[in-house]
Structures are given as C-alpha cells and as structure tokens.
Symmetry: D2
Subunit: 307 residues, 4 copies
C-alpha cells in the first residue's frame, strides 16, 4: 500500500495539489488524525510492507454520529477529495462518503484478489510469491520423503491465492471455497497420483475451503494411517507482509496516480482498477454488487498441471 500512498502524494504534487495522510483509515478520519504528506515524507517507503498510515477497524465510524464526525473532520482538515485504498469494507465506506457528498475514489487492495473491477488488487502478487517460496521449499525435501504436505493459505471467500500459488508451485491439489471436496475424493486423488508415480503430494487449501487444512491433515494421519504421513504448514500472517514485488509496486503506483487524476477531473464514487495494464474506472456500486467468480482459466490450468 505504501507505493500507492507515494503515488498519490507525488501525482498530486505534480499537479501542485497538497496531500494529507489520514492515519489508521476510518479510525483516523473519525478522530481527525491526519498529517501533511510531502514528497520527502513518502521517499523510500514503497519497499516496506504494511503501510506508514497504519490500518485499524473503527466501529465508531459505522454509527451515524461517528460517520458525521468523520465528515466534519474532512471539512475541518480542508480535504477536497479522498483516495481510499483497501478491500471490500474500505470501499463500502468510500461509497458512503461519496453518497454524503465527499469526492471519493477507491483503489483495490486485497491479497485475496477478490475485488471486482480490476485484473489484480494491490498485495496479491506479493502474497502469491510468498506462498510460492514456501511451496518451493517444501518441495526440496518433499521428494525425499514420500509424504503428503498440507499447506493452509489465506482466502476466506476466494480461492485465487491458493490456485495461483498452486499452479505456479506445482501443487498436486488445490482446495478452494468455490469448489468444496469430500475427504473421500481427496484420498482417492492421492492414491491415483501415487500410481502415476508422483514422488510427493502437496495440497494447497484456502482458509475458507471445506474441509480445512487442519481437518485434512488430521484425517490423513488417523484414518489413512502410516500410508499417508501428512505434515501441516499454516502460513498465516506471513502472507500479509514482506517487501512488495515489482508488479505490486507498479500496480499501486498506476492506481494511485490515476486515482488522483480522476479526482482532479471531477470523478467520484468510482474505483480505479487495472485492465490489460491500463487504469479503468468502475462505479463503486457495481464493484460492490458482485461477488468475483473463481478464475475458470486458473481452475482449468490447475487440473492440467497436476497431471
């Protein structure tokens, strides 16, 4: 996200517009916590994981009084337009602000890549690479041990991360929320893979999938017995950090700069996304109306590549 903050500040400065950074998202909007950002104060931040503005949930902002307090702070601080970087929840807030008359442009940030209106969200590429490195390391010793490895990754509603990392990392099976499987099917596929001569069996499981990574691991170690010695890896918040990849920084830079340009051209109530490498705008109403479907191309590739 830092690369996006940097882009907003410098793209604004390029047009002689000043910027302030609101700390901890809507929490800072509610409490009026904001500082002027200069080109120097965003220098060198693009390579740090996390965000210099920090994030937090804010229940107060969700109440009518809290929301009004936030709007008052926006006016007091002299803010003429907002760039809101975040996922579903953040973008809903942006729509509310737009509806209340505050010029607002959203930029999609979500490691799950579950936001409509953009090919990719900020953070997804970095998280995919983090999982990929874990899979590569598991493979180093996997072939030496003839075991099953169950790897739990993020993705509450969306299996994108699991599929993308699974295809790139050569997992033998990927289990996603959009496509539930039974333990019987899993065990059967494992048996078939072993017959095809697969030296190991790696299962990538998204957080929101059923059965869960823990369930699968326990089942393999109890029901299936010594035949399938299963080992568990749960990456957890490791996936949310790390120095962003080049693709993530470039995406964040494009989106941040475009968000500023759209605001300055009078647009609001939209999210800026990327399509074929170019910035595109979509009304927040549309972005938030749809559930992003599973990437059928990835599902198909996963099936082929697991051969």
């Amino acid at each position: 996200m830092n690369a996006c903050v940097r882009a907003v500040v410098r793209a604004a400065l390029y047009r002689s517009v000043e910027t302030v950074g609101v700390s901890r998202g809507y929490s800072g909007l509610w409490s009026g916590d904001a500082q002027a950002l200069t080109s120097r104060s965003v220098g060198g931040i693009a390579r740090w994981g996390g965000t210099i503005l920090q994030t937090a949930r804010c229940e107060e902002f969700c109440t009518p009084e809290g929301f009004q307090k936030g709007i008052n702070n926006i006016r007091t601080l002299g803010i003429e337009g907002l760039v809101v970087i975040g996922g579903d929840g953040s973008l809903r807030g942006a729509r509310e602000l737009h509806n209340a008359g505050i010029p607002c442009v959203g930029a999609p940030a979500s490691i799950d890549n579950d936001i409509c209106g953009t090919d990719m969200a900020i953070g997804t590429d970095t998280a995919t690479n983090t999982i990929l490195e874990a899979l590569d390391k598991i493979k180093d010793t996997a072939s030496a041990h003839q075991r099953a490895f169950v790897v739990g990754v993020m993705g509450r509603r969306s299996g994108y991360l699991a599929l993308a990392a699974g295809v790139a990392g050569g997992a033998e099976m990927v289990i996603v929320p959009e496509r539930p499987m039974s333990m019987e099917e899993i065990v059967k596929e494992m048996a078939q893979a072993r017959e095809r001569g697969k030296p190991h069996f790696i299962i990538v499981v998204a957080e929101g999938a059923r059965p869960t990574a823990t369930d699968i691991c326990e089942c393999l170690n109890t029901v299936a017995g010594p035949k399938y010695e299963a080992r568990l890896t749960v990456l957890g918040h490791v996936q949310r950090g790390g120095s962003p990849t080049a693709a993530d920084r470039l995406l964040a830079t494009k989106l941040g700069a475009s968000a500023v340009e759209m605001l300055l051209s009078g647009q609001s109530g939209i999210m800026v996304g990327i399509r074929a490498g170019r910035p595109v705008a979509m009304p927040l109403d549309e972005v938030l109306a749809e559930e992003r479907p599973a990437d059928e191309e990835l599902v198909r590739l996963e099936e082929m590549m697991a051969l």
Copy 2:
C-alpha cells in the same frame, strides 16, 4: 522457460498427445537432439531458472542446407507441430518453419519485454524483481552517504526493464535507449534533486542507452569531482537467472497450454501472447514487423515518481 515447457508437456498429455523436447533450440533441431518428455520428466522444474532444454545459437541452421536438415529431423522424429519459446530470433525461425510447412506456434520469452503482441514476455517479471532487490539494497546505505549510484541493467533496444524497476524502486533518474540524454542534462537534474532535498540519487541505465552507465559514472567522478561521488553497479547476467516469480510461472503456464491448444486446433504461424490475463494470438508476421514502442505510461509515471 521451464514452466512453459512443463505446461506444453502436460497440456499435450491432457489431450493424449505425446511431446519431445528439442535440446538447445535450433541447434538441437539441426543435430536431431531430442528426447521424449513425460509428465514426470517435467515435474518440479518450474522453479529452476534457465531451462532444462538449454539454449544455444546455431549458425548452421541459418544456412539453407542446415535449415533443410532441421526440417528433415522434424519429420524423422515424427514431430507434427512445434512450440517455439524465445525472443525475436527464435520467433523468426518459427516463421521460417511455418513458411516451410511445419505447424509452429511461438511463445514470447525475453527479459527485455520487447516483443509485440503480448502485454508481458516470459522472464520480464523475474528480471524486474531482481533489479528491484538490488535497488532496495542500494537504498539501504544510499541515504547514509549522500552519493550518486549508477546502476546498469539489461535492455539493448528497450528501456522497459529500466523503467519498470526504476519506478518500482524509486530511482531518481532512468535512462533508456528510446530517450537519449546529455551528460549536461543529467548533472543538471542531479543538482535540482539535491536542492529538493533528495538524500540520494540513483540512476538506472539500460544497456543500450547513451551515455552508458560506465560513462556516466566516470564523468561524475572526474568532471563533477568530489561533489558527486558516484558508485557503479552492473548487474549483468544476474538478471537472467533466479527462481521465476509466480507471475512469470503463471504467464508461462498459460502461454504453454494455449500454444498446445492452438496447434491442436490447426493454427500455425502465430505467436500466443497475453492480453488482460487472457491468451491471444497474433500472426508472427505482425509480431516481427513492428518495433515495440516505449511504454509511455511508465515514462510518465517515472517522471512523477522521481519528484
């Protein structure tokens, strides 16, 4: 490239088509050096840099006799269609083979991202991240020393790598073949950046740019004297290796699988590229006719972000 080889083999297998791997490109075609590839022989290769099939130049293949020898080998080996993975030179060869009646589909691989007909070429994302890591490391001590750092990167005709890494890595200046600069302009921009309070000055220079990285460094250390103590980094072939990123492996997988599908559907003389995440085909004649122009969006972002 290994991920592309894996994809070709497994996508073919998925349709019950057998594959052979030709070693060292046209050199192996000329000498008839090819082995059957099975799902197992491409297992786990996607994470290695380089390619299991190796690469080489082959002058013999460029002669009419050598070319005919290659065609005879294709027939003898029972090859019914070819997927050619590579850059400009490789794709020219693919066009020749197509013109000689051999079904041929190309897949773009080039760290310079200088091939028309695709958003991205295989290898570019990995190389960009390698340069980015170098820039990040230089920045760690750059701010502590108030020096100029000149970083030479690949890109003989194209400044894509330099621009992409420069924007992502926060370089103060990027010099590319498509946009020559004079030493006077460079020194002037450095002076202005210092006035704006920039704690360091990093110049990324593409291989084909003028002046070169070495020239700039020497000039700063002699003409400008102690005022601009410049340090040189030349990354060289470090940029060609390394475990491929997730984006590169996914791209290579998509292109490899699509190339097989296109061949099987009777297409030839085309290159499969990626556009907005989806495979697209372009005739090799078109691909090879145009010089890919500099990415104007990146040029514009670089200017803004260097503020």
Copy 3:
C-alpha cells in the same frame, strides 16, 4: 547437505581417491544402491536444498541381518571408508559400522542444532534464516493490528532454532522444550509487554515445547477473549528446504573436506565438528552420550532483547 557431498567428492578427488554416493542413506546401503560420483556429477548442486542422494528411513538396516547385508554391500562395492552425514540416528548407525570394522566419520546435519561436538550443524543457519524471514513479514503488519502472533517452529528436543530466530527477529517471547511455561505466565508477560507500550506480541514456540503453539493460540482466543486476538503460523517443512545460506555451504564444505582427510589419515568412529571456524574431531561415543544443553547465552539475550 549437497555442499557436503560436493566437498567429500572433490576433496577425495584432490587426493586421487574415488567416491561413490549411496542413495537414500542406510536404505541404499542395505539395498546396495550406489553410483560413482565425479567432480562433474556434483557440479552446481551446492545451491539446491535437500540432497541429490535423497534420504529415507530403513527399518531393515536396524535388524542384525539387514545390518550384515549392508556391510556385505560395502565390501562388494569396494568402499574403504564412509562419510555419514546426518543427525542423531545417522550418527548412531555410523558408530555401529565403525564397531563392525568399517572406517566411518560422521558429519553433523540437523536443523535443530542439537548435536554435541560442534558449534553448528549443517542446515541450522538456513532454517534460522527461513524462520527469520517469516517473523520479519509478520512484523510488517503486526504493528498495524495490535494482535498476538503465535509462530510454531521446529525443535522437538531443542529450542535452539526458536531462540536464535526469536532473538534475531525480535520476538517478545520464546517457548522452548528445555523451559516449560504455564499459560498464566504467558498471559501475564503479554499484559506487561502491552503496558510497556509494545505495539505487538510475537511468540515463537518450538515443536517440543509445552504448551504448544496451537494450545497457546486457542487459549488466547477463548479464555482471554477479544483482548488478545491471536493468529497462528505453523511453518512446518518449509523450514527443511530452501537454497542453503553461505554459512551453511561453507560449514558443509569444511566438514566434508575434513571428514575425507580424517578418513585418509586412518581415523574412524569420530564425528567432525566445527569449533571457532576450525574442524575438530570428537569420538562418536561422546557425541551420542550427551544431550546438548540449551544455549544459556541465547536464553539470556532473549530475555534482554524482549524488553
């Protein structure tokens, strides 16, 4: 381990001695599975995780008949001396072989660093860095969320990995097998850390410690309620892979070369270890007699650094 294999082969070759590689450890010894290794066959292997010789457990070798079969194979293959690379179990086997008259020198390999007679074992440095990267990534977003992060790492009997990574990575608490703690103590320390203004709380837990990482996480999320929102990371076999670090490759090279020199000078029944950067020998009887105690210096540093 590959760097050690390379070192054994080339150090032997340097003295005009031939080497064969036994596949899958004692399993290959039992089945007579061994190939000649040349300088070329170990070229470039040092950077791969795992080992080209593969590893496996072998119950047959543990029986008197299986052991005798292994000894016969050693004689049949013309093996005049053995370098055994591995942990506790492998070194016990080496002692048995020495007692049966086969010249044998052990080299310690264990990511837990739980082997006596050496400052460091092969694999420990790489695993520590892998954990450290995970901790660094967790910290990126940890400060933004005010949560507790529980990270389970390897170490069944030894807390070395947990302590080393915890001190290097700035964990707030490290729980090791050698020093059990109660949940009450853990919750109390967390409360104190929060009072000192710590923006996050990271607990590194070794595999063999009590309570376990999973126990701690569950307890924090149920008993302590919303006050301590805990998130779990279990690294699992990710810790066993990855390209070895420079320190690991240098250590493995020193130990492998010295093992060959010791064998050639007529020594046997010993393990070669490292002490202050220099190779030292210790009788396998001594190595296997003692439990390596917890590193008191690390325990002390951990306490100070968690302030």
Copy 4:
C-alpha cells in the same frame, strides 16, 4: 548495525542504564547531535539494512580542535561510556577517545571481515549471502551458454568476501588482493577447466585484486577473442545493504550486549569480538596493530572445490 544498536540500548536498560544515540558517528559527536534512545525507539529496527544512526565521515573530528570539541560534547551530554561500532577507522577513533580518558569499547563492523580479534565482523555474513545469490543466478544461465563470467565484489585489502562467496557459490576461480595473478595464469586455468569438462567458468574478483574484474573481462574479450566470451557483473553497493541475516543479527546482538557489560564492569580501550560463538575482548592497540591475514583454510578449500 541496527541489531547492535538495539542490543546496546536494551542491555543497558536491563541494567537500568540510559542510552543516547550519536548520529552520523564522529560527525555527530563533533556537532553534538545525539538523542535519547528508549526500548521503543529501537523496536523492529534489527531487520533494516543500514543504520538508524546513519554514518558519515568527519574530517573536522580528525583535527585536535575538532577532537576536543567532541570530547566536550561527550561531557556535556553526560555520556559516561561509548560503544563504537565500525571498521578500522571507527576503531582508531575509539582508541583516541580511550586515550583521552573516555571509556570506550569497540564492536567490529565490516563487510570485508578484515578486522583482527574476532572470528566474524558485523555485516560480513549478509554481504556474503548477497554475493552468493548473485552467483547462483549467474549459474542458472551460465551452463546454457558456455561463457566466462567475471564478478567484481568488495574487498579492498581483504579477499575474505570473494573467497567465502566463491567457495559457497562454486566459482571456478577467486582472485584476491593477497594473491595476485597474471592474465596468463588466468587464461591457462580457464583452458584447463574447459578440458576437465566444466560447463562454465565463473571468476570472482575482489575490489583490491590485480588484475581487476574490468581488466580481466576486457582482456578475455579482446585477446582471447570469441573463444572466451566474457560477461561482467559488478555488484557495488548492493553488497552493503539488505535485511541482515540471522547470523549477523545474532552476532551484532551478542557484541552489543557484551560491549555494554564490559563498559559497566569498567573495561575500556578494547574491542569485543566473537570466538567460537562467545564474546572475547582484545585491546584496541592489538586489534589495530595487525593486518588480518588471508584465511588459509578458505584458500585451500577454494582450490579443492574448483576441481
């Protein structure tokens, strides 16, 4: 170095001693630029490359007047003892301060590992791993091209980095300041390696070696002609940055904590080093009297491993 700063602050705090951080080394001492450091202000810094205290050269401090000004600042700031982290130059300054009556303990930091009185200096392990990654990447495509790769690394007086990375990374030749070679010898060794079947030839050259990396590359490309197509990599300041490795952070933590303990026990005019993993003290006079000799063990290993 940040890990060392953290260790000094927290080890002092552990003994209820306050710390101030002097900015930019002797430059800050001269100008009186220092801030109180708390446990919180050093939280999370260990993973950043560079140093939060910044570094700079200071010519003024080298004059008798400047030195006296520094001493006066030390007294004014209420500093009762100094921990000086750095290389040769920094340690000379520490000796001067000690001789002038200021309690001073040095800690060795130098990526060249060229300081006597310690097995390893802070920064060396990180730099070695950075070079190693570059060598690994070069090897990925090196075997596919049959070329010579010349890699210039740091080390003005000491070849430690070049040797350590060269042995770990499997370089075919390492050229260090302590052991000059002629171009004839280099070309001869290359020819012999090719005869032994080496698929590539990587030469690691320390900065202070003769001939230099640039000289070797130019010579191979002109004199030896197309037979030896040589490619140059110069890593430069990339080697000075990057997130420190686990070993570097542990070393820095041990040295920082010990330096505080030594100061508090009344010691001065010494440098704290590491020997077999334990802190040891050596008088600065001795540390600065000797030139650290080349590591003969590494030279020997390099010769064997290049086979």
